[in-house]
Symmetry: C2
DNA sequence: ATGGTTATGGACCGAACGGTCAACAACGGG
DNA sequence: CCCGTTGTTGACCGTTCGGTCCATAACCAT
């Protein structure tokens, strides 16, 4: 019927997401996006709308992917309490991950005050994460590793908060050995085994 | 000898800092800075250098002021362990503070990957904060509120990390009542009284 | 009062910004 | 084979960007 697209939508979205992730929203120009995606302005606009819409699309894709990856990592632990430990230790386990930080965290800091869409995405994602973590807490309680008296939702919010703190500290360029030790120690204190 | 300045340097720096704080670095234009400071371009440049130098000056002033304010708050507590509790509960105690977050945290997320000067400022400030906190930990140990076996530096890094996590979560727009409860609960678990 | 010196404010600059558009290219159905 | 439809490309638009510069203003020592 008509000319087919010459690009893979997911691949473009990934390239664009990577640039927003590293450089931030405001510091990324359309020229940057054209370069990393290999597309012309017109194609970018026709396929994804303007810069802001493209950004939100990339952000949402990132948040979903990230959530799925976190679920995978935690699923790999045999006991729920170990999965909860991974929640704290994984984000600082290797240098590249630690330095890059989390795209949602970075852009929330940059834009939360000015952009309701970003706030909404953050709220949505962190609520989903809290529920997921609370599920692991409940399982760890059934497995006898966490006292049954604990409130799964409250503990989940604590762990998520601490995780974000660790992710942020990784972004600052702090010494990674010390940060790993901090993560382990926090896991020891918050998840008495 | 010559014409005197028509503005107060600290006042201008505060106005400029406020705008960078809320809007971020890249999203702030020289026109914004002229508007909030009431100065013309020429005066701004003559007094503070270009946008980036002005930003760094404002950031450093913020970091120093913030550190001093934190010291004041913690000094108000009679026992060191209570000061350490305040480290976690103060940043989420009122809505305005929580929503605004921390300028250094916000800009570190935005610029850490691209701007070595910002990384350096973050490293400098967080090292200073860690030392200050470690001092309180040591005092709390002398006062018998924290086990003498604890490593003050390690505990300080943990508390700072958790504090940053709480500050970040406040910026996301999360429910503040829940966040306060999270802060209190984390304080209870990390600072056994 | 005046001259030396610095501050001020806004005109001005080239470059880069986000966004639009129209001419052209590539495909499939008839 | 050719036409309708959609994708691609790059020229082009007005605006805004950060930064420079200079005529003028305001001050103080003399």
């Amino acid at each position: 019927m008509a000319r087919p697209r010459s690009f893979d939508e997911k691949q473009v979205l990934r390239a664009v997401r990577d640039h927003f992730w590293d450089a931030g929203y405001a510091a990324t120009s359309l020229e940057d996006l054209m370069r990393v995606s290999g597309l012309g302005k017109g194609s970018l606009y026709a396929a994804f709308g303007d810069k802001h819409r493209l950004f939100l699309t990339a952000l949402r894709a990132y948040a979903d992917e990230n959530h799925a990856a976190l679920c995978d990592i935690m699923d790999s632990a045999p006991r729920a309490v170990e999965a909860l430990r991974l929640l704290l230790t994984a984000p600082v386990a290797d240098a590249e991950t630690a330095r890059r930080g989390c795209m949602l965290l970075n852009t929330t800091c940059e834009l939360a005050a000015a952009d309701p869409d970003v706030r909404a995405e953050a709220a949505r994602t962190y609520e989903k994460a809290t529920e997921m973590i609370a599920g692991y807490v409940a399982r760890a309680q059934r497995e006898g590793d966490i006292p049954a008296t604990a409130d799964p939702g409250a503990l989940a919010r604590e762990l998520l908060t601490v995780r974000q703190g660790l992710v942020f500290m990784g972004r600052t360029g702090i010494d990674l050995t010390a940060l790993e030790a901090t993560a382990r120690s926090l896991a020891d204190r918050l998840l008495p085994l």
